[in-house]
């Protein structure tokens, strides 16, 4: 098994943190679907991939709160000063730390913007990234960009009332992270 992902729905692992430093962006919302309800408000995905000379890794958790607003706000915390270990990662090559240095936080924001550039948000609200873990060696901006993109996709699937489905298509989600699309 060269690629592995772990997902939390309606729960978050012990990798949550807060930071006074955040990156923020806002996206306009399509009015007709404003105010849709979410079935699940928190989501986290952890991903690991053996790439040969390195093993890629990242964990990103988020919460989404719908609001009667024509704006969707995305908030990404930046945390690179305090280093607590994430004790139960699927990645066991070197230490994994809770936090999100600026170069990964930027990538998460980029991934979110990339997603909403192609998919108009269908409800207003706040999408806040609240949990993250990374490796000094295995993590890369590209992995966190994909994790950010996949998180946005997950929440939009949850609120998309035109799409009738009980469960999230995890294969589709996984392909967003691996880039196999």
């Amino acid at each position: 098994m060269h690629r592995e992902a772990r997902i939390w729905q309606d729960a978050l692992p012990e990798a949550c943190f807060s930071s006074p430093t955040t990156l923020k962006t806002s996206v306009s919302v399509r009015p007709s679907t404003n105010g849709a309800l979410l079935r699940c408000q928190s989501f986290c995905i952890e991903y690991k991939a053996n790439l040969g000379g390195r093993i890629g890794y990242g964990l990103l958790g988020s919460t989404f709160t719908t609001m009667a607003s024509d704006i969707l706000t995305v908030t990404v915390p930046v945390k690179s000063d305090v280093w607590a270990s994430f004790s139960t990662p699927i990645y066991r090559i070197d230490n994994v730390f809770v936090g999100l240095p600026a170069y990964f936080a930027n990538a998460v924001l980029t991934g979110s913007m990339d997603y909403f550039a192609d998919h108009e948000p269908i409800t207003g609200g706040n999408l806040s990234f609240v949990a993250a873990a990374f490796s000094d060696v295995g993590s890369s901006p590209d992995i966190f960009r994909r994790l950010g993109l996949a998180s946005c996709h997950y929440f939009m699937l949850q609120v998309n009332q035109s799409r009738i489905q009980d469960d999230v298509d995890f294969d589709e989600l996984f392909s967003l992270i691996t880039g196999d699309v």
């Binding site: 053996n50 790439l51 040969g52 270990s85 230490n95 000094d136 060696v137 890369s140 901006p141």
Partner: protein, 318 residues
């Protein structure tokens, strides 16, 4: 005295203590190494010893020694006295915890061995390996099954159990000199890795890349899918074959050697993807930041975090 004509010793083995109820063959005092010369030796004529892969016999009252200054392959030796340039394998981590061991035992009468180690995390038992077939088993040894049945690693420390290459099932009762391997590279605590990793110096070793070796590397990398970092490194190795007869150093050398080693570990089908990567790194004593060339990292800033470039910047500053 051994009688060729009869294929037997003419006098009984004098060391009665070498008999074991667990192996009735040991009560036959007139045969050499209980009729199993493939995996057993008897250098002093008193007691059989297990032959780890590679042919190093287990000597009575011996212990394992490791090179004080390992260069490339770390060759561990089992000797009765300490060889020059070697030191006993007795390291534990800073907390005094055991950090790696080879163990074996009988499960349902079938001999198994298992390597478990703790280089960078909790001690993780691998699935048991059937000594006869090399097949994995999901069974786990219990403490009582493990008791006294430690298995000897081969003379070349590559995380291979000696039993792996045995033709017949080994009899754990023959391992009269219980041995427990203890690794030497424990990382404990939650100290940030970059502090130490970024400060280490890249090796000056070189290697010659061959077309055949590069094909192995390419085939190995193909299983992981497209990756710009790997593609960049492979192109560099191809160029090295054309321009300099294949001799490479630094990142080119480290990447090539790492992928070859990882490929070998994959073929043995003994390790998970993570384990193979980690073992290959450790085997070559390679810094994980040193496997990709600076130019490849610079060309692909999205797939490498800034620590990679920082590592190479520090190399240049030296």
């Amino acid at each position: 005295m051994y009688q060729n004509k009869h294929g037997r010793f003419t006098a009984p083995d004098p060391l009665l203590a070498s008999a074991s109820a667990a192996n009735p063959q040991t009560f036959n005092r007139y045969v050499y190494v209980i009729n199993n010369p493939i995996i057993l030796v008897d250098p002093d004529g008193l007691q059989v010893s297990f032959v780890p892969s590679g042919g190093t016999p287990l000597v009575p009252n011996g212990r394992w020694y490791k090179p004080i200054f390992p260069d490339g392959v770390q060759t561990y030796r089992f000797e009765a006295s300490q060889p020059d340039g070697y030191e006993p394998v007795t390291q534990r981590n800073r907390n005094g915890d055991l950090i790696g061991e080879y163990v074996g035992g009988l499960v349902g009468g079938i001999p198994y061995y298992v390597l478990r180690f703790n280089e960078m995390g909790p001690m993780t038992p691998l699935p048991l390996l059937d000594a006869r077939t090399g097949q994995r088993s999901m069974a786990r040894l219990t403490d009582s099954e493990l008791n006294g049945f430690d298995v000897i690693p081969g003379p070349e420390f590559k995380h291979t159990g000696a039993v792996q290459n045995a033709i017949e099932p080994f009899d754990v009762a023959l391992l009269g000199n219980p041995f427990r391997f203890i690794g030497s590279r424990a990382l404990s605590g939650t100290q940030r890795t970059s502090t130490t990793l970024l400060d280490s110096t890249v090796s000056t070793r070189s290697v010659v890349v061959t077309p055949k070796g590069l094909d192995i590397v390419k085939n190995h990398l193909a299983r992981f899918g497209d990756d710009a970092g790997n593609s960049g490194m492979v192109r560099r190795l191809e160029d090295a074959i054309k321009s300099s007869g294949g001799r490479v150093t630094g990142a080119d050398r480290n990447f090539y050697v790492h992928e070859l080693k990882e490929s070998t570990l994959f073929r043995r089908n003994l390790f998970t993807s993570d384990e193979a990567h980690k073992i290959a790194l450790r085997w070559d004593n390679a810094n994980p930041f040193s496997l990709y060339h600076r130019d490849v990292i610079r060309a692909n800033p999205r797939i490498f975090n800034p620590n990679f470039m920082q590592y190479w910047d520090r190399q240049i500053q030296r």
